[in-house]
């Protein structure tokens, strides 16, 4: 029911600290957008600006066809779930959930209906008369969700809502939130620093760093085609490996070279880099994008010495020394490598990432240099 548009929005605090710089972003109606980034990247500030909790310093913020730059939060149709849940300690669970409706002068019967409805959905009906201090973390989380749900807002904002939960609960709550979005049919903006949450929940992810959007896109898109080394590093666990090297353009074939290692680049990349031999680049290899199989003379491959072996049940992680660099890869558990042993692994050419060494920008992305 609401489209949110940022037009060249900048948020500056006293002392000229810039929290968000020149932000352009359009969040579509009923979309689930996740703002992802490390702490201090400006994602919470962005969320707070949508809520009206912080004011836009420069630029315009639109809700549908209305500029809301100076509209205070209580005049915006938004609901929000906080990391600490921010339940009112002096009110019962029932009153916590009902509070937003009371403030908006919803009729008493309607409030009661909605509160009980939400409580039933969240399976907290038996807790309605308790105080927040008598609840477990997970229960508080549900109350916080309920408080936002009953509002039936145009925009549903969540600020790291799962960070205070333990790992198991976090994963089950992800699914619930996903369901909630489907059920509520409203715009969700979700802030997190956890890439797994982002990848699971989002229709689109907005990766931010230092107050600037790094990339916007669907989860797969972002994972597969990171626009720069920051995005590439931030998503993926364990993180992507980088090898610094140069481009060689002999005999029509274009390849990456580092010391004794040479990797032929796939046609798409080769086409772009043909004209710039000697260019300094970073080769990005995700841990899972190697294989012990399919090794041929023509397939790009990587050779190294096994440094560490970490079995993790389903897979096996290997720490390698490749041309003086540490590289971390995932292999199937049938691989029985021993430390100190040389190993040769096939690389999947179309899954290789090449970044400009100086700017960190992907050489695959649109408009890349």
């Amino acid at each position: 029911m609401a489209r949110i548009t940022f037009k060249a929005v900048t948020k500056r605090y006293a002392g000229d600290v810039v929290a968000v710089r020149d932000l352009d972003l359009e969040i579509f109606d009923k979309e689930f957008v996740v703002l992802l980034g490390p702490s201090g990247c400006g994602k919470s500030t962005t969320l707070n600006m949508i809520a009206g909790l912080e004011e836009v310093t420069e630029g315009e913020l639109w809700f549908d066809d209305e500029i809301v730059n100076t509209l205070p939060p209580h005049r915006r149709d938004v609901a929000m779930v906080f990391q600490s849940y921010a339940l009112y300690p002096h009110k019962s669970v029932y009153e916590n959930i009902a509070f937003g409706l009371r403030m908006r002068r919803v009729a008493a019967e309607e409030i009661d209906r909605r509160v009980r409805d939400a409580a039933a959905k969240l399976e907290i009906s038996h807790l309605l008369q308790r105080r927040p201090s008598q609840l477990s973390g997970g229960q508080r989380q549900r109350v916080a969700l309920g408080r936002a749900m009953v509002r039936q807002p145009a925009v549903f904002l969540m600020d790291e809502p799962l960070s205070n939960l333990d790992a198991a609960l976090r994963i089950s709550m992800r699914a619930e939130i996903k369901h909630l979005h489907t059920a509520m049919q409203t715009t969700f903006v979700y802030v997190t620093h956890d890439q797994a949450e982002a990848l699971t929940l989002a229709d689109r992810i907005v990766v931010m760093n230092d107050g600037v959007i790094q990339q916007i896109g669907a989860p797969d898109d972002i994972y597969e085609r990171p626009r720069n080394t920051f995005v590439a590093s931030f998503l993926g666990n364990p993180p992507i490996n980088y090898l610094d090297g140069t481009i060689e353009g002999a005999d029509g074939a274009v390849s990456f070279r580092r010391g004794g290692m040479r990797v032929a680049l796939p046609p798409a990349l080769a086409a772009r880099l043909r004209g710039s031999p000697g260019r300094e680049v970073k080769l990005g290899i995700r841990p899972e994008d190697v294989s012990r199989h399919g090794l041929g003379a023509e397939t790009p491959a990587m050779e190294g010495i096994v440094d560490t072996v970490l079995p993790v049940g389903s897979d096996r992680f290997l720490g390698l020394k490749v041309e003086g660099c540490d590289v971390f890869v995932r292999v199937d558990k049938q691989a029985h490598h021993r430390e100190g042993e040389p190993v040769r692994l096939a690389l999947v050419p179309e899954r290789l990432h090449v970044f400009d060494k100086a700017s960190g920008l992907s050489l695959l992305a649109d408009g890349a240099p």
């Binding site: 004011e55 420069e58 630029g59 315009e60 500029i67 100076t70």
Partner: protein
């Protein structure tokens, strides 16, 4: 849709008040008004008065004297004697308050039956008005029928009734005692607030490390209490320097000028001699000295903490 191109009036401006700032302004306005009218303005007005030879017994001649009033005050040996007495009174009082309050706070921080009663009793001196405190001690110190003489006599510490407040050597200390008795409770409360914030883990850790009670006190309690202690020292010093009520009721600056402190001097100069100009100058000097002292103490403590 035409609105899209028209920039909102305030959107691109940085420097004007934001919505929150306007809210803050409204919320703070009553306080600001009160403080300006009844604190800031009088402070400035006081300085203005101090530049004139305003004497109410001579209402038709009010010469502008510039800083002469300040020179008069600062070159008056009696003023400096009063400063000395104020300093002596303050040091005595603050030291005593600090020591007694620390002991009492440590006692009340223990768990034992009757602790609640003690902490309630503690509030009695704090709650009573200074005037009642003064008349109580005046009666206790009374050289003819007072409790102090009675008690010491019955305990055979003295052979005959003694003069207390009338003895110039004892006056200041006796007034300080009355002051300390009343000020200790608040200091205890401030210290207790500090003690409550020390995590129990710290004591447990110190115990595991083999620290005995005294060591635990020296290495855990005292360092953690530092900021509360600083607050007590600063606050009590302020209170002692400005204290007036006890001097007014117990001695009126006497005997001789044994308890003629700066606050009393300002009162006499202003309301007995009606030298408003001179009194204002003296007040200003006291205020600036107090501010400087507070600033210095806070700075010194801030650097150490």
């Amino acid at each position: 849709m035409t609105a899209i191109t028209s920039l909102p009036r305030r959107a691109a401006r940085f420097g004007g008040p934001t919505y929150d700032e306007r809210n803050a302004l409204v919320l703070i306005a009553p306080l600001a008004t009160v403080l300006f009218a009844v604190a800031v303005f009088p402070i400035l007005y006081s300085f203005y008065i101090s530049l004139y030879g305003l004497k109410l017994t001579r209402p038709h001649r009010v010469p502008f004297v510039g800083l002469e009033n300040y020179v008069t005050v600062l070159t008056d040996p009696q003023f400096w004697e009063a400063v000395g007495r104020t300093a002596a009174f303050s040091v005595m009082s603050v030291a005593a308050v600090a020591v007694i309050a620390l002991l009492a706070a440590l006692l009340l921080n223990e768990e034992f039956p009757g602790r609640r009663v003690l902490s309630a009793v503690l509030l009695v001196p704090w709650a009573i008005p200074y005037v009642a405190n003064a008349l109580m001690w005046k009666w206790i110190y009374d050289s003819n029928y007072g409790a102090l003489n009675g008690l010491l006599y019955q305990l055979d510490f003295i052979n005959s009734y003694m003069v207390w407040l009338g003895d110039a050597d004892k006056t200041l200390a006796l007034i300080a005692n009355a002051f300390v008795w009343k000020e200790v409770p608040l200091a205890v409360i401030l210290l207790l607030v500090g003690l409550k914030t020390i995590p129990a883990d710290l004591y447990a850790a110190a115990k595991v490390d083999g620290a005995n009670a005294l060591q635990r006190f020296l290495h855990v309690t005292l360092p953690a209490l530092k900021s509360s202690f600083a607050l007590v020292i600063v606050y009590e010093t302020m209170m002692a320097i400005r204290h007036f009520d006890l001097f007014f009721i117990l001695t009126e600056g006497g005997p001789g000028d044994a308890s003629h402190v700066v606050a009393w001097r300002i009162y006499v100069e202003t309301f007995r001699n009606l030298n408003f100009g001179l009194g204002a100058a003296m007040s200003y000097i006291l205020a600036l000295a107090t501010l400087a002292l507070a600033y210095a103490v806070i700075r010194a403590l801030a650097q150490r903490i």
